[in-house]
C-alpha cells in the first residue's frame, strides 16, 4: 500500500526560529510554497543579527571554529536531503569541506592578518582584526555552495548575517538553516530570508544597521544597491561564488591598532 508523505513547510529562519513571513505572502519555487520575505522580515532579521553580535564576537575564536565545524557535522548528516535540493552530492561535499576549511581559520586570523608593528619610538604597537557587524549577503548560484562560500567567511570572523537565499532555488537554504539550528549556532547569528531579490536586495542595502554587504550574488542593478549602501558607508564586497581565501574573511573585518608606552 502506498503511503502519503507529509510535506515540509518552508519558512524563514530568523533568531534561531522558523517564522512565516510577517506579510503572510508566499511564492512558488521548486514545487513548494516558499515564504516571500518582506522589508519587515529583513528588519526583524537585522535586529536579531545585531542582538546576537555581542555574544558571537565575544566568544573565543576557538569556540567559533568549533561551532562552524559542527555545522559541517550537521551538513554531513543531512547529505542526502541537501543533495536532493541542489546540484547533487558533489556540491554538498564541496560545501561541507568549504565550511571545514573556514572553521580552521577562526583561531588563526589574527596571526596572519594582524601584526605587531615596529614603530619608531618606545611604544608597543599591535594591530588586531575585529568583526564589522551585521552583514547582508545576497547569495550567488549554485544555491548551496554559493551560500556557504559567502556565509562562512562572514561569520567565522565574528560577524552576524542576514542572508537572502537564491530566488529560484530557495529550499536548500532553509534545509541548511535546519543544520545551523542544530549545530549550536547561537540564535540570530545567521538569519535566512527567502523571497524576491528585487524586494529584499534594496531593503538590505538601505538598512542603516547593516554595516557590510556581500553583493556576490546580486543580479540586476548592482549600482543601485551600492548607492543605497553608501548612506551609512557600508563595506561592499563582490566575491566569487566558488572560492575560499582568508582575504574573503578579511573583507569583513576592521583593523584596530593599539599603542602603549614601554617604560618603567
Amino acid at each position: 500500500m502506498s503511503r502519503l508523505p507529509v510535506h515540509k513547510t518552508y519558512k524563514l529562519f530568523i533568531g534561531g526560529a522558523f517564522p512565516r513571513s510577517e506579510s503572510g505572502r508566499t511564492y512558488e519555487a521548486e514545487g513548494a510554497n516558499v515564504a516571500r520575505g518582506s522589508r519587515k522580515d529583513v528588519r526583524d532579521a537585522v535586529r536579531n543579527a545585531r542582538q546576537a553580535g555581542a555574544a558571537w564576537s565575544g566568544m573565543t575564536a576557538y569556540n567559533r571554529g568549533q561551532v562552524l565545524y559542527r555545522v559541517a557535522e550537521m551538513m554531513e548528516a543531512r547529505e542526502a536531503e541537501l543533495a536532493a535540493l541542489c546540484g547533487g552530492v558533489d556540491e554538498v561535499a564541496s560545501g561541507i569541506d568549504r565550511v571545514v576549511w573556514y572553521a580552521g581559520w577562526a583561531d588563526k586570523l589574527a596571526q596572519v592578518i594582524g601584526s605587531a608593528n615596529p614603530v619608531a619610538g618606545p611604544y608597543f604597537n599591535f594591530t588586531v582584526p575585529e568583526p564589522t557587524g551585521v552583514t547582508g549577503i545576497l547569495v550567488p548560484e549554485p544555491p548551496l555552495l554559493g551560500l556557504v562560500s559567502r556565509l562562512a567567511p562572514v561569520i567565522v570572523g565574528g560577524n552576524t548575517a542576514v542572508v537572502v537565499a537564491s530566488e529560484a532555488h530557495p529550499l536548500v537554504a532553509i534545509e541548511l538553516a535546519e543544520c545551523l539550528a542544530t549545530a549550536d549556532v547561537p540564535p540570530g547569528v545567521v538569519n535566512i530570508i527567502t523571497g524576491l531579490r528585487r524586494e529584499l536586495g534594496p531593503a538590505l542595502a538601505s538598512h542603516m544597521d547593516v554595516l557590510a554587504l556581500d553583493l556576490t550574488g546580486a543580479d540586476g542593478d548592482v549600482a543601485e544597491l551600492e548607492r543605497l549602501g553608501a548612506e551609512n558607508v557600508k563595506r561592499i564586497v563582490r566575491g566569487r561564488a566558488d572560492s575560499q581565501s582568508p582575504y574573503d574573511i578579511a573583507a569583513f573585518l576592521e583593523l584596530k591598532t593599539v599603542w602603549h608606552p614601554i617604560g618603567m
Partner: protein, 498 residues
Amino acid sequence: MTKDKREVARRPETAAIPTDWEYSPAPESRELVHLQDRYGLFIGGQFVEPLSNERYTTIDPAREEPLAEIAQAGKADVDHAVKAARDAYAERWSVIRPSERAKYLFRIARILQERSREFAVLESMNGGKPIRESRDVDLPLAAAHFFYYAGWADKLEYAFPNRTPRPLGVAGQIIPWNFPLLMLAWKIAPALAAGNTVVLKPAETTPLSALLFCDVIRQAELPPGVVNIVTGDGRTGAELVSHPDVNKIAFTGSTEVGKAIQKTLAGTGKRLTLELGGKAANIIFDDAPLDQAVEGIVNGIYFNQGHVCCAGSRLLVEESIYETVVSKLKRRMRTLRVGDPLDKNTDVGAINSKQQLDKIGALVQAGIDEGAEIYQPPCKLPERGYWFAPTVFTNVAQSYRIAQEEIFGPVLSVLTFRTPDEAIEKANNTPYGLSAGVWTEKGSRILAMAQRLKAGVVWANTYNRFDPASPFGGYKESGFGREGGRHGLEPYVALDGA
C-alpha cells in the same frame, strides 16, 4: 499595630563557630578506565609484541600500585617503527590532499573531547596529577591543540610568506611525564598537520595515556603507520634519536638529556627542537593586585606539583611588600589540599616517581643546609605513594642551589629586589630562559619588563597559561624552537626555495 518604644534587646551571646568542615571524599570514578594487563608497541596501525621481549611495570604513584605491563622497545623495535612511519609517509600521508589530513586531525580533536573524562582519569592515575587539573586543563588543551593544527594542514601556504612548505618526512618525538597527553598533542598535531608521520616515545613512567590514544587513532581511522608509539626508557629514546632514517627530532625533557641529544645529532643534518628546563622568576611589584598575585604565585609553582618546566620557582618580591606577600602566601598555602589525585577537591597530587621524590628531597635538604628558612603548611600526607608538601624557602641567596637548579617539585624560593633593574638582573641571571612572570598594575612597566626579560614566554598578571595559538619555547639553555601558534609549524616543514 502600635509602635513599641521598648529598648531593643542587646544581641545575645555569639553563635557557635564550627570546629571543622571536612570535605567528604569526592572521588572521580576509576571505572571509566579499562586497562589491559599488558600493552605492546603500536606500530603500523596495530599493537605488536616487542622484539626485545623486554617489559617493565608502570604504576600509580599515589598508591604505589602496578597498573600494567609495558613493552621496552629495543633497537629492532624502533627500527620497525621508523620503517612503518616512512612507509606511511610515502604511501598514505604525503600523497593525500591536505584538506583530508585536516579532517583526520579534526576527528582526533573531537574524539578526545568526547572521551575527555576517561583520559583525564587515566592521566591522574598514571601520573599523579589532580583530576581537577587533568580534567580542566590537560584534556581541553590537548583536544584544542589538535583542533588548532587541524586547521593549518590545508593552509600552510599562508603561514610562511613566499614559501610553499614541504613536510620533512619522519619525525622522532620524545616527551616527558609531566603532561603526558598534552605533550603528545603538542608533538603529534603540528607534525601531522605539516604532512609528516611520527614515531613517538612517551615517558617511561607515564605511557598509558599515549597507549589509550592509539584507540583514538583507531576510531579516527587514521591511516596505519602515520602515528607509531614506542614505549620504553631512555634507551629507547637514544635509539630513536640516532636512527638514520628519522628526519627530525623533537625532545621535551631535562636540559642534561637535551644537550646529549644535540651532541648526538651534531653533523647529521637532522632537524632538532628542544624544550628543556627552566628556573623562572615570578616578579611582584608593590602596585600589583596582591591577592591575585598570590594566586599567581601559587599557581605558578604548585600547579601540577611544580612538575612544570616553566614553573615560577623563584619569587622575586619588591622588598617594600615582602612581609605582606610572604604572609599572604603562607596563609594561602595552608588552604592547599594535598592528597588523592582522583579526589575532585585535591589541589596538589602525588609526585610522579620515587626518583623524582628523592631528587626534590635532596635539593630541599640542600636549601636547609645552605641556610634558607623553610616553611611547609601542615598536611596529612597519605601513607603509601610519593608525596611532598608544598614548600617555600625564604632568606634565599641568589647563589643557593635552590635558587639556581631546577627542582621540578612544589618548592618555591623567595628573593627580594629593590628596583626594576635589580629584578631584571636577578631574573636573567640563569642559564635558563623559558618563562617569567611580572605582576604590576602599570602597563608600561609590563611592556618594559617583557622587553628586557630573556625568556621565551612572559606572563603579565597571570601565570601558567597555555593555548594552542600561543607559541611556547625557551631562550638559552631552555631550548630552541617553538610549539604552538603559526611558529609551531616551522620545526616540521622545509622552507627552502619559494
